[in-house]
């Protein structure tokens, strides 16, 4: 894994919204890879409780010190952190286990997102 990138895996323990086979496969592959990583049972729960663990997870994150998160929709994860009053620093990359497959997810977690496959752009508020 290049530079100082860290990995956070969300197990989405209290709902079936992330397909079981994807999240379990991602977890298994991460365990097999032998890298250091953090794993939480459910980011939604941490956000609802405004758990200080969320602050610790983003400590030191910035350009050159990426945090790659395997969870669900990036927009949901971003605002879950905001709901817990945790800043959303530059250098956060969210990979969506609701829609992507385990293999490419783990590749992004371990090696970063390929430059020819940029992350979905920050949403522009659509006009009403």
């Amino acid at each position: 894994m290049p530079d100082n990138a860290r990995i956070l895996y969300c197990h989405c323990a209290y709902a079936k919204v992330v397909p079981d086979e994807v999240k379990n496969d991602v977890l298994r592959r991460l365990a097999e890879s032998g890298v250091a990583f953090d794993a939480v049972a459910d980011l939604c729960e941490l956000s609802a409780k405004r758990d200080p663990a969320l602050n610790q997870l983003v400590e030191g994150v910035g350009p050159g010190n990426e945090l790659r998160i395997a969870a669900c929709y990036p927009r949901a994860v971003k605002w879950l952190f905001n709901a817990a009053k945790v800043p959303w620093p530059e250098g956060l990359e969210v990979v969506n286990m609701r829609v992507e497959q385990a293999e490419p997810i783990v590749q992004i977690l371990l090696n970063g997102r390929p430059t020819d496959q940029p992350a979905p752009p920050e949403e522009e508020p659509a006009a009403v």
Binding site: H11, C12, A13, Y14, A15, V17, N24, L27, R28, A31, E32, G34, V35, A36, F37, D38, A39, V40, A41, D42, C44, E45, L46, S47, A48, K49, R50, D51, P52, A53, Q56, E59, C72, Y73, P74, R75, A76, V77, W79, L80, N82, A83, R98, P120, E123, P125, A126, A127, V128
Partner: protein, 277 residues
Amino acid sequence: MAAPTTKTPMMKVALYEGAGSEELSAVDRGAILKSLLEKGVAISCIRPGRSVTPPPGGQLLVLGRFNEAKPNEAEGENGVTVRFRDIAGLSVDQVGKIVDEVRGGTPAKPWKPWFPVIDYQRCTNCMQCLSFCLFDVYGAPGGKIGVENPANCKTDCPACSRVCPEVAILFPKYKAGPINGDEVREADISREKMKIDISALLGGDIYAALRQRSTDAKARFSKERDEKRAIAERKACLTKLQQTLQEALDIPAEVMNALPSMDMIKAKAAAAATANS
């Protein structure tokens, strides 16, 4: 903020595979991780050269196949208690029992973390959600809308996301986009608006209309001599009611009965306006 609480002190588990310990097999590592995550435990997988930040004021449980003596318990920085447990030769279940023992206290009642999350890039602070929600999930300290009491939210009910004119309310565990956090497209905005229009079509207040139907069914029930027929009719009525709710707003029937009436919504809106003026 009222949120589900646990009587146990905050605990973090470190699965340690650094100096002074033996490496776990990939299979054991994966199985332990999965089983502890399912217990609701946060874990750091520690490899050589990586440290772990302990939870402030809580406890850190370090699990490993240690090949040197470790104290059972030690005092860490910032009042953190660090406990070491050797898991050599233990099954996944036995590791789980160690975690339960160290965690102690009463395990928190399982709670599906279901609550609204606001996308402030879209929110215009119009307060419609605050006026609509009768369970005081929302608040506006300092005049800015926020989710103050997430645990008050009715599980699986996305109703307030339907009244938000900006599609700014997410429920990350909802089944479909854009409420689940998927990108908001122009078509979504029109569709959400249409859903609000459906309620208008049903007489301006979908809840009042549906409640009326439920009351009518109950009235018929009390007048009916033929009890069986009345029960069947009431059942049919409730099923129809549920279908209408499902199709129009995706609100669970049991939640609907607790939703505010138009008068209540207006009263809350007026109170919010006074409080913020």
